[in-house]
Point group: C2
Chain length 219, copies 2
């Protein structure tokens, strides 16, 4: 598979591909950070995914891309693979076919995890969950330390919050002792429980699967 790879380096805000571009390549992050985004009908930039080293992207059924992907920081390096040759190669190699399948599933579960974060109601919960996600995904060795290569604006557009709210949430989390800031872009996680469910008494769950009602009570 790597025999087909072409590696390129990107500076900040350089587009790797744009929405509506022909989708004839797959990509893999080598290092740095990229963001997958679109502009909504209401005119907001919505970041759909942050792409970290090891992540594949550009996967689609359609023949053009739905989103734009650009580098979030200088020195972002991506490998790209021509799609047709790759699929042809997979036709003769079940192992590769299986790998490509798994790559798709990995992207899928990343999206589902994302949905759970966006589905949180309060800003504190969203930011807390985001920090935990980044701690999980960017294994910096220590599970405590989180490096945030992206700006607060990026985080805001990722969580569908305003920049100010993100900033306030980070400040609040620090003041409540859940995290410590080591500069603007480095965070030490002190209390995971606070980030997961932000100060929630968390009553017992209901028993039966009988009805749709009860579950949505409780914020």
């Amino acid at each position: 598979m790597e025999s087909l790879a072409a590696v390129t380096s990107c500076h900040r805000s350089e587009e790797i591909y744009a929405s509506e571009d022909p989708a004839d390549r797959w990509y893999r992050m080598v290092c740095g950070l990229a963001r997958k985004w679109t502009v909504t009908a209401a005119g907001q930039r919505q970041i759909v995914d942050f792409l970290l080293p090891g992540d594949f992207f550009g996967l689609t059924l359609r023949d053009v891309h739905d989103f734009t992907v650009d580098a979030a920081i200088d020195g972002t390096v991506v490998a790209c693979y021509p799609r047709r040759p790759l699929e042809l190669m997979a036709d003769g190699d079940p192992q590769l076919g299986r790998l490509l399948r798994e790559i798709g599933f990995a992207a899928l579960s990343r999206m589902q995890a994302r949905l759970l974060i966006l589905g949180r109601t309060s800003a504190l919960q969203k930011v807390g969950a985001f920090l935990l996600e980044m701690a999980e995904r960017s294994q910096t060795g220590s599970r405590q330390l989180v490096v945030l290569p992206m700006s607060r604006y990026d985080i805001a557009d990722y969580l569908a919050l305003s920049v100010e709210t993100v900033s306030r949430a980070v400040t609040d989390l620090e003041q409540s002792g859940a995290i410590t800031l080591l500069g603007k872009r480095r965070v030490r996680i002190i209390d995971r429980a606070v980030l997961e469910s932000d100060a929630e008494p968390c009553p017992e769950r209901r028993g039966g699967a009988s009805t749709a009602t009860a579950a949505s009570r409780r914020r």
Copy 2:
């Protein structure tokens, strides 16, 4: 592939699989409606996906499921396929391997479309986008008519809103002339533009890809 299928019918709220169940099968919706959900740390039910006829689900890399899937209405029918035999069969059949890959990609793009809905800021936008999504996915012949098999509670947990807010948004959309209600669960779409970007002056977008700032202005 269909030679491996087993078809079952489910009554309302019957679980097709539960979170943490072994993930040894894939599923395909035949008819009816199912919901994929989990309960967040804060105790809310978050519906991650509505599953409509033709949709595949249960796809994962892990050996247990992350979410629970249950039937949202009586008479929901699903086909299920044993995972290992299917993958073995794919090893010898590139065409099938390709199909399985495409199934994964379809689920992925469904999730990305979902993210865009959840990322909307106002309740009117979320509900409007939801109606358009349902109109798109459940092809009822007419592009105008939308059938909503799920309850308002389900919609609320899907959009991360309260039931009351969903209800009010639907009422507002009707009073503003964007939709017409034909009973509680049937909607006629009058003005798509209103649903897409809810009363948005929509100024021109900025030009350069130079910075992250400008895009997040505008709600």
